[in-house]
């Protein structure tokens, strides 16, 4: 009897049984989803949204892709803040932990090195193409940045020695580049046309490409550094001396 109790306690420690509270919770979530689904399917879609309005203003936006037009022209302010949120994620991660120290003796197999040598340049090329393509088809800073980030992750897992020799200020500049170019463009628009993010006539396409290129670089770096899981070892605390 005593022993049985003990074993039961141990198993509970290892793995909590499926108790009533969880069942109730699951049931409530199920009810909520059903309810929301019922509301969605029953309420008539009265309005078509903003797609028509976007299409009618497309030729003034400087780009041919409606998604890019919304992201960087009509609702550029949202994207500006979103880019800041990505930067915030890196600042938050860096404030919490150091990156795990690279193990020096790990042998990377030649197959992996070969694949990295082949893939990394191609991925950079694809990223650049996606950013450029953003002006007329699906693509843009976020897609290009995602590919760049994947390339960065590939380099990180291959433990290339020169990655750890990159000075931290270069990383910081790279992280800030996209947001800073975005804010800078927005402010120069303010001084040129009198309104924030109102691109001067005829320059919208080029300015959007500039912003997208800078943001793609920063987003790629952000994603790769998030995978790194902490601030680089060489990041010494600075700040004003007391």
């Amino acid at each position: 009897m005593k022993k049985g109790k003990k074993i039961k306690k141990q198993t509970r420690n290892r793995r909590r049984p499926f108790d009533g509270l969880q069942a109730l919770f699951l049931f409530l979530v199920f009810c909520l989803i059903t309810l929301l689904g019922a509301i969605l399917s029953n309420s008539p879609r009265t309005v078509s949204g903003l797609a028509g309005a976007v299409a009618s203003l497309q030729d003034q936006s400087g780009v041919e892709s409606p998604v890019t037009a919304v992201l960087l022209n009509f609702r550029g302010y949202d994207t500006l803040l979103e880019v800041m949120v990505l930067l915030l994620a890196v600042i938050g991660v860096w404030s919490l932990a150091k990156a795990p120290f690279p193990t020096p003796e790990t042998d990377i197999s030649p197959v992996q090195m070969g694949v990295v040598r082949l893939l990394a340049p191609v991925m950079c090329l694809v990223a650049a193409y996606l950013v450029w393509q953003g002006s007329h088809l699906a693509g843009g800073a976020f897609q290009g940045g995602a590919i760049l980030g994947a390339a960065g992750v590939l380099l990180l897992v291959s433990e290339l020695p020169w990655l750890h020799a990159i000075p931290v200020y270069v990383l910081r500049i790279g992280l800030v580049l996209g947001p800073l170019v975005f804010v800078g463009t927005a402010l120069s628009c303010l001084f040129l046309t009198g309104t924030l993010l109102a691109y001067p006539k005829g320059t919208a396409g080029w300015l959007i490409l500039l912003i997208e290129t800078a943001c793609a670089l920063s987003i790629g770096l952000t994603l790769a550094l998030l995978f790194g899981g902490g601030r680089p070892e060489s990041d010494v605390p600075g700040g004003d001396s007391p």
């Binding site: 309810l35 929301l36 509301i39 969605l40 029953n42 309420s43 879609r45 009265t46 309005v47 078509s48 949204g49 903003l50 309005a53 976007v54 203003l57 022209n73 009509f74 609702r75 550029g76 302010y77 949202d78 500006l80 803040l81 979103e82 800041m84 949120v85 930067l87 915030l88 994620a89 600042i91 938050g92 860096w94 404030s95 919490l96 910081r172 500049i173 992280l175 800030v176 947001p179 800073l180 804010v183 927005a186 402010l187 303010l190 001084f191 046309t193 009198g194 309104t195 924030l196 993010l197 109102a198 691109y199 605390p237 600075g238 700040g239 004003d240 001396s241 007391p242």
Partner: protein
């Protein structure tokens, strides 16, 4: 042309300037305090300038990128938004100064100096981006843009809460992050329902399209739950006390005074402007009941706490309840100025709670602990801090000269006028509880310790003590500014003017 006093371009400064400051603070490792201080000063100046513009020109809308709604995003100023902006600017300046004093004191510590230097390195960019998010939230006029600002606030606030690095604070801030994300996602789901039904995102356009159909009601419920999670109304308050109490002292101030106000402000705007036609009396009563439970439960928990910072954090739970008591009292027909009552509570609480958390932080720095039982004799060594604590306590109780007194008076009269006397009982019980938990600590401050154990400690810098005292004094004398604040409030809040046909006082 842009820099003229009547240019609408000033409206973007409170958002763009802290963003740039945050980027620079992250980029440079030196002079970050100077950047932050200049930003806070300009922010305060611009907040005052915007109020001047409001008084002269009325409500202004700013179309970003020159695109009009429904396609673009617009910012707008009105009385409530600008008062919240002013509140953030004043408290933000005090917090910036206090944080400087705090980090200087901690870095001077020979043992743990480098750790605090590291914390300071990340504090400034996070704080600046949080400020940008808050300002963006108060000014934004677009329901999706509000979601982005909520993300900005939530992620930077969770990172700030984790900054102290202690296991307790990391656990609490991780929970805070999860709750905050859950709140954001619920809010986003609400937007989906809303956009599907109405097809627009701009609040000004939406104002006229909120109709009573299931999609809109689902949207209201989802938006409300998401924002309540972030505002920490009982019973969704469980994450708040550990997250606020275990953070660094300046971070506790930011979280308790400003961050919870942002989501509450949004909630209030939704309930009383956007969704006003479909809000029912029973829904209002439900929110009021939750508020009443929050006042009582938070007060009782605050009395039971053994640590000063936890006590102050539970007092936040309690004070947030007053904001929700205003909900059921809004339906009284005499044109009761609920909006002004809520703003007064929010302003007073922001200033008083900042002062109180600063005082608690000072006590912690001075003694090395904050166990309420062992606080004897602090008055002798930290007179200014104890004075600030006492005055802030007076404001929390809602005694006459403070801003909370006016607010509670409005709530009391309107509850008795509308013969809903039970709210009045809760309000008075809440004040009584506040009195108990404030004086319980106060009495320890004044006890003269039996053994003269005056250990040699570094004296606290004026940057640590004076911001607390000044904020406490502002909270105390807020009622003297009441006519001026009410005048600002009555400017251009069109939705509320319809709600109260008698006009705001």
């Amino acid at each position: 042309m842009i820099f003229l006093a009547d240019s609408p371009s000033w409206m973007i400064t409170p958002v763009i300037l802290p963003l740039i400051a945050g980027l620079l603070c992250f980029l440079f490792s030196r002079r970050t305090f100077v950047i932050a201080l200049i930003t806070a000063l300009i922010n305060l100046f611009v907040a005052c300038l915007l109020i001047y513009q409001l008084l002269v020109f009325g409500t202004i809308r700013y179309y970003i990128g020159g695109w009009r709604p429904p396609i673009g995003i617009s910012l707008r100023t009105d009385g409530p938004a600008l008062l919240m902006l002013l509140m953030t600017a004043v408290t933000g300046l005090a917090i910036t100064l206090y944080a400087r004093g705090y980090f200087s004191y901690r870095i001077a510590d020979p043992v743990r100096g480098s750790r605090h230097q590291h914390q300071q390195r990340y504090f400034w960019p996070l704080w600046m981006l949080l400020l940008a998010g808050l300002n963006g939230l108060f000014l934004s006029g677009d329901i999706f843009n509000l979601y982005v600002t909520l993300e900005l606030i939530g992620i930077s606030a969770a990172s700030l809460a984790a900054l102290s690095g202690k296991p307790a604070s990391q656990r609490a801030s991780f929970r805070y992050l999860l709750i905050s994300l859950l709140g954001s996602l619920t809010y986003l789901l609400g937007i989906v329902f809303f956009y599907r039904t109405c097809g627009v995102l701009d609040l000004g356009v939406l104002q006229n399209t909120a109709i009573n159909e299931p999609g809109i009601r689902a949207a209201l419920a989802l938006l409300t739950v998401g924002l309540l999670l972030k505002t920490a109304l009982v019973p969704l308050h469980f994450w708040l006390p550990p997250a606020h109490a275990n953070a660094l002292a300046p971070v506790s101030v930011i979280l308790s005074a400003l961050v919870v106000k942002g989501s509450f402000y949004l909630l209030f705007r939704f309930w009383f402007e956007l969704f006003a036609p479909i809000v029912t009396t029973s829904a209002l009563n439900f929110m009021g009941t939750l508020g009443a439970i929050a006042i009582l439960w938070g007060g009782i928990q605050a009395i039971r706490q053994q640590r000063l910072k936890l006590m102050v954090a539970y007092s936040t739970v309690s004070q947030l309840g007053y904001l929700f008591i205003a909900f059921p009292l809004s339906r009284t027909l005499t044109g009761v100025p609920v909006w002004s009552a809520v703003i007064f509570i929010a302003l007073t609480h922001a200033c008083a709670k900042s002062a109180m958390f600063m005082a608690a932080g000072n006590v912690y720095l001075h003694l090395g602990h904050d166990r309420i039982r062992n606080l004897d004799g602090v008055r002798a060594s930290l007179p200014i801090t104890v004075f600030a604590y006492g005055i802030a306590g007076v404001s929390l109780m809602g005694l006459p000269p403070s801003g909370a007194f006016i607010a509670k008076w409005m709530l009391l009269t309107s509850s008795i006028d509308s013969s809903q006397w039970w709210w009045a009982l809760v309000i008075m019980a809440g004040s009584l509880l506040a009195m108990v938990y404030v004086f319980r600590v106060m009495s320890h401050f004044f006890v003269i310790p039996k053994r003269e154990s005056l250990k040699e400690t570094t004296p606290l810098s004026p940057l640590l003590e004076w911001p607390a005292l000044i904020l406490a004094l502002i909270a105390l004398f807020l009622s003297l500014l009441a006519p001026w604040l009410l005048h600002i409030l009555s400017q251009g809040s069109t939705g509320l003017a319809q709600l109260f046909p008698g006009g705001l006082p």
